[in-house]
Symmetry: C2
Amino acid sequence: MLSKNEVKYIQSLGHKKRRAEERLFIAEGSKILAEFIREMPQQIFRLYATEDFFQKHTEAQQIADKRVITDEDLQRISQLQTPHEALALIRYFPEPDEKLTPNGWSLALDGIRDPGNMGTIIRLADWFGIETIICSPDCADVYNPKVVQATMGSIMRVKIIEQELGDFLAKQNIPVAGAVLGGDQLGSYQFPSSGILVIGNEANGISKELLPFLTQQVMIPRFGHAESLNAATATGILLWELKRNG
Amino acid sequence: MLSKNEVKYIQSLGHKKRRAEERLFIAEGSKILAEFIREMPQQIFRLYATEDFFQKHTEAQQIADKRVITDEDLQRISQLQTPHEALALIRYFPEPDEKLTPNGWSLALDGIRDPGNMGTIIRLADWFGIETIICSPDCADVYNPKVVQATMGSIMRVKIIEQELGDFLAKQNIPVAGAVLGGDQLGSYQFPSSGILVIGNEANGISKELLPFLTQQVMIPRFGHAESLNAATATGILLWELKRNG
């Protein structure tokens, strides 16, 4: 059985401040962890998993610090309502360099606050082959357990840079697109093959200070009555449109 | 101050069984409730709101059963982490007739389990002018507070029918599209102007029993490495593509 102190320590990594001090974050679930073990075993600081998990995933043997735990213990350390076989403490990724992929699109997130949206956007970026995401400092913490969970493993594959977006965009010399009220209707406009797509905050859209950097203002046409779209679903539609004819 | 019994009663509507017995569900937040008061005041069974809310929304005066409550009381009855000014008990909508809009697309949801996905899909439907959603009985309950919240008011405007999808699709004589592995790449295919789009379960996709009903199997092209897309973001991309050239 895990000691109270160990359980407390793991739970404390649910908090941003503690995570940043320890430079460790939590990932959960047999599917995501099997992927971590396969793709970047060196990032795993410690693996907690049930007997079942270790039997199904023999590649987990290579992890130096691993503990077989019971379902009850997993329940005690999990952040999920229905924990699933394994939880690991993962090392923070090395700070990525700030260069963008010269050919292709990058995403810039302007104050995406909801961890679910943030994770879903990272997963979308991975699906659409976007290599780099630049996050403003007021985005949800990328190592928040809910973000990690919503990425479904894509956090391993997308380069994420935190930077003040005004400073960042001022230094770029490529097309910058973003959705704003009154922009060109999506579908009437062909996107270039590379650039930066800015995604605005859930409630307020793209910040006023960033609007001057947009070289292309677009809008997802509305056919019904909803007042707005969820930030992650809007990102999905925009990325598909970018790639559709790209 | 609200009595313990009243608080308990409201909290009990967080459970599907109790909701179905009372035929009442919970909606929260000043924005959604202002919309409910404006668009369908007759559906509001009881409104709990702060002094602030009543001052800003004078149209709330028309609600027969309304209670001014403190922020502390709101905190006690709210299902949200950060309650916002108002909460109401809303009457279940009348059972809609089962006819589809003859011109246009409808959505059929095959076991969408996550309330956030469910609500986001309803909001997307409203944005794209989809009038009817047919849900399989194993979808998340449309009156679940998390579903209601994620619809951002769109629950008022989209007709939602619960029905076994095999029975339902067997009776239709219009195109039925759905995303499956190995389907035609989206973008290479022009959708007809009306039909039914089937959205599969988060983990398993469209059920095997429903595959024979699909007249058009499509696939969202993948440019990167994510294994799959979130059900709601996939729905957004598919609906945009349906409407794009429609």
